[in-house]
Symmetry: C2
């Protein structure tokens, strides 16, 4: 059986050089690194991809948030779209080779993403997380409901640690996404290996 | 002889519906409407293009600032790139049918844009303008120098009015770009006609 996927998402706060060094170390243990840098320009994101490939990160593991144009010219594997991005169906139709993920926060949004042709969804936040202070988390029940209502893979995000991974997978998630849990860990390589092992068992 | 081009650039402050109504009226007199809405998301810009075409603005006259992806999926004529955008040569290579303009502020930048394959440059601001308070304008001499140093068309921007158009064209500009001079005019249609007539004579 294929392991559940492990996605790592950039925090938007790390220096590009620092991020590239970390991802250069951890990429063998992850399925995707998402460049999610909302405050950065197209040129800066383009240069970040170059920096990642300089650190031997394969293009097949790089996903860019929102900027479809940067994804296309950089020849990375995919884009991650949100409600404020270009419509999923329009992107899939124009750029057929691109893997397109959708960030969703409800079962309705998940079903719509699937109907429009999304290859997978990221759903969250499942548990309380420091990156979403004050917002009520969805919990495992909502995750399980979503996983039952869509046939595309559901990647869970939000407060996922090695101690609660099993519940997330049992709820039907086919992957998890982590930000600070890896990128801001004291030892990102140890942290990613721990996630990796917990996803394999 | 072909008239000098007239570009109108959105202000970033007008309601999409208001902009679409104005451009729906004035498009027969202009060569390009630039959607330059830096605070708007990809989805909002995409919807603005739809709104413009609903008002019978031809796609062949629509240019989108920075967001190459929105330009491609919307099938508009071109993109306008700045230093923070994707590199011109990368965009031209990937999207061969797109007309690519570059915003430049010096002769060096203009020459680089030409070398990288830009189809034209917008240079400014030529005269003092309310949209660039406190910045020293380039003046007609710099415009003339640039026009001598590049072979691609130079479109001049910044404080251009019917009273100073002649000097701009005589300096070698092959077009002018206007923001508030048309879009915030009491009567945009009259304003654009006045520019149009001054460019024709």
């Amino acid at each position: 059986m294929k392991n559940a996927e492990l996605h790592v998402i950039s925090t938007g706060k790390q220096e590009p050089q620092k991020l590239a060094e970390i991802v250069g170390q951890i990429h063998p243990y992850i399925d995707a690194i998402h460049i999610r840098e909302k405050a950065k320009t197209a040129n800066e994101i383009y240069e970040m991809v170059n920096l990642l490939t300089d650190h031997n990160v394969p293009l097949s593991k790089i996903i860019i948030n929102d900027r479809v144009d940067v994804a296309i010219v950089s020849k990375v594997a995919g884009v991650q779209l949100a409600y404020h991005s270009l419509p999923v169906d329009i992107v899939k139709k124009q750029f057929t080779s691109l893997r397109v993920g959708c960030s969703v926060h409800s079962i309705d949004e998940g079903q719509t993403a699937q109907e429009l042709g999304a290859d997978y969804v990221i759903f969250g936040h499942v548990f309380p997380t420091q990156s979403k202070p004050g917002l009520v988390s969805k919990g495992l029940n909502q995750l399980e409901l979503l996983a039952h209502h869509v046939s595309i893979p559901v990647v869970a995000i939000g407060g996922i640690k090695s101690t609660n991974i099993r519940g997330v997978i049992d709820a039907g998630a086919q992957g998890i996404a982590v930000m600070s849990g890896v990128l801001e860990a004291e030892n990102p390589l140890s942290a990613v290996k721990e996630y990796y092992q917990n996803l394999s068992t």
